[in-house]
Symmetry: C2
Subunit: 389 residues, 2 copies
């Protein structure tokens, strides 16, 4: 893979946000140059072998899920966290069969667990990580919860990197591009605390009529606008650096993942940025090593479009509300910004009053979890965990 | 790449048509098994180095053309045959600059020529290949003509395989899948005269509203139906073996390409099948070596969708008319079949009378061309040919 190196970045305390980098070529030999970097397949394979690709899935079309699984580079460890139905139709079982066959044929390392696994809930209870549990003591529904479970499994598997891939991707080969970008870019980071977020630029006419695409693009633009506004208001200098406020496809080093707080639902990705800025811009953080090493956030423009399952009109409003709420409730947001956000949401007929702009649920960093205890309880009591090596 | 091996094929004289094979994994190690074959990257690279990927282009969106070029595996030789405008806007020049930069950055072997190049026309005149020329002695407009030019350049470059890729592909990484399939499948053929044609199965709801996709899918189904009907009527046994009547993405060994007759416009792909059947089923053919070795036609279902530029409603009718005309006018088509085709076209309000079902223009095999003379004239008189090695 041949990728531009970013020419420009902006610094906010210990946080460095890089401008958008483009992918120049999907495959290439090794190239080391001032303005670009080419990763040979051998280089990427070495990094893949230390990367977990986490696929949260919930009742997605099975052939899409299947295509995504089949497109992960073979040296990566795949971790599927499923919250699919088990009654009426045991979709989870079908996913397991799919994965079992996949492993038989390919030999690739793959793990699957159900988000509602009682052993999993017990493991969280035993290590005192209640923020992920609902009132009944079971892991809550939600993609953020699935991501946290995935990160823990990746930590148990001793991975250095975690990359997230959605299961409803219509373009399996784009997954291959995403994971290659994750590997290449993260391997270049000069800090152990790095994140890469993906973006697709084009809104070609043929796809403009496709609501799903226009929608996501529109929400993304608005989220980016207010994230940049938050930065601009605080520094006094206008910036447009953030282009990946709602980047579903993203990855990070495990060292960063461990000290991240995650939210849930549509606020996940914007909240990651808000959290990092709150901790490491000029906040008081307990993560001194990260503070001194710095947190690097890379943004990469992919060659391939992001084409996900059409989820419906209501979705956009929810997405926008969740994303903007995160910015609204940030410690870093001044009253002017809050007003502007409220006006935006009112104008879009998403809220009528400020009370409707709710704070999101967050889950604390997993670094405090006794990983050995978690692993022991999980392995002993899990009913759904399946590991294929 | 891991691919199913076909379990079933049907034989028509010296022609063997294989049932659809699925791609099981985009990347894999080398796997040799009864039911599947996995090609490692090293294996594929060796085959890529003997393959020319031909990209006919005419005024496509430049960023799409760019994405496609950047996605061809680096060991392949790229041959661009452009019929883009040169006046008002010199699109051809922009394509050349794009390719020149691409080569500077990647070092990949790439050739570009303009279809209307006077030296090219002269070369065809000098070797007596007039069927490709229009009344003014210049290479005719048309994708088929572009393909023939590409095949000749591939022959000059001493390639063993030629693969075709359209320049208006919205999903650059799918091009990588196509070329890998071309390489893998053709390398396994037990005859030197082999072809592989691609197909995408799914018509997911999210894409059903997308006219462009539904259209192409619909035309394909009808073309396949009548091709299968032609086969069924002649053998007395019903068959559904043909699934790739209108496969835009396809490849073949150079040995087969040289003895192929090509038509032009939308009839290209169905005509290839008709021609092969007419020559090698129980026709009198002069190609004795091919007759005894056999012609193998592989059909592969890709993991990635085929998403091309939206070309408009009128297009479908033209496509259907051209495709069905080819079958209609085949020596192999009995009167019953002709009647059915006429009824189909009438029902679709594409024709009112049989006279409107025209025979397509065809160009004879290039094997008779004095390739040395062609090369000499081309190199001496070409004004647009650019080769980057």
């Amino acid at each position: 893979m041949l990728i531009e190196l970013p020419k420009h970045s902006e610094v906010f305390g210990s946080v460095k946000i890089y401008e958008l980098q483009k992918v120049l070529k999907l495959e290439s030999g090794k190239v080391v140059a001032p303005l670009m970097r080419g990763f040979s397949r051998e280089e990427l394979r070495e990094i893949f072998s230390r990367m977990a690709v986490i696929i949260p899935v919930k009742d997605e079309k099975l052939h899409l899920f299947d295509g995504v699984v089949r497109s992960i580079p073979e040296d990566c460890k795949i971790i599927v966290v499923s919250n699919s139905r088990r009654v009426e139709q045991d979709t989870y079982k079908i996913e397991c069969d799919l994965i079992s066959n996949f492993h038989k044929v390919t030999g690739q390392s793959i793990t699957i667990i159900h988000q509602k696994d009682p052993g999993l809930s017990l493991a969280f209870q035993e290590v005192g990580y209640d923020a992920i549990l609902d009132k009944t003591g079971v892991v809550r529904d939600g993609k953020g919860e699935g991501m946290v479970v995935g990160i823990l499994l990746a930590k148990i598997l001793d991975c250095d990197y975690v990359g997230f891939v959605d299961a409803d991707n219509y373009i399996p080969c784009s997954v291959n591009e995403y994971v290659s970008i994750y590997a290449g870019v993260l391997s270049l980071a000069e800090t152990p605390y790095a994140m890469v977020r993906l973006h697709w630029r084009y809104k070609p006419k043929v796809m403009e009529d496709r609501l799903y695409f226009r929608k996501w693009g529109r929400v993304s633009e608005i989220t980016n606008k207010y994230l940049n506004m938050l930065l601009s208001m605080k520094t006094g200098f206008e910036t447009l650096i953030v282009r990946t406020g709602n980047a579903g496809e993203h990855a990070m080093t495990l060292k960063l993942a461990e000290i991240m707080s995650f939210s849930t639902g549509f606020s996940i990705e914007p909240y990651e940025l808000i959290y990092i800025l709150e901790e490491f811009w000029d906040g008081e953080t307990r993560f001194k090593d990260a503070l001194s090493s710095g947190i690097s956030i890379y943004q990469v423009e992919t060659m391939n479009p992001h084409v996900h399952e059409e989820k419906g009109e209501e979705h956009i409003k929810e997405m926008l509300l969740a994303s903007l709420s995160v910015i609204y409730h940030s410690k870093l947001a001044k009253d002017d910004l809050k007003e502007k956000i409220f006006e935006e949401l009112k104008g879009q007929e998403i809220v009528k009053s400020k009370r409707e702009i709710k704070k999101c649920i967050t889950m604390p960093p997993i670094c405090d979890i006794d990983i050995k205890k978690f692993k022991d309880v999980l392995e002993r009591y899990s009913e759904t965990l399946k590991t294929f090596h």
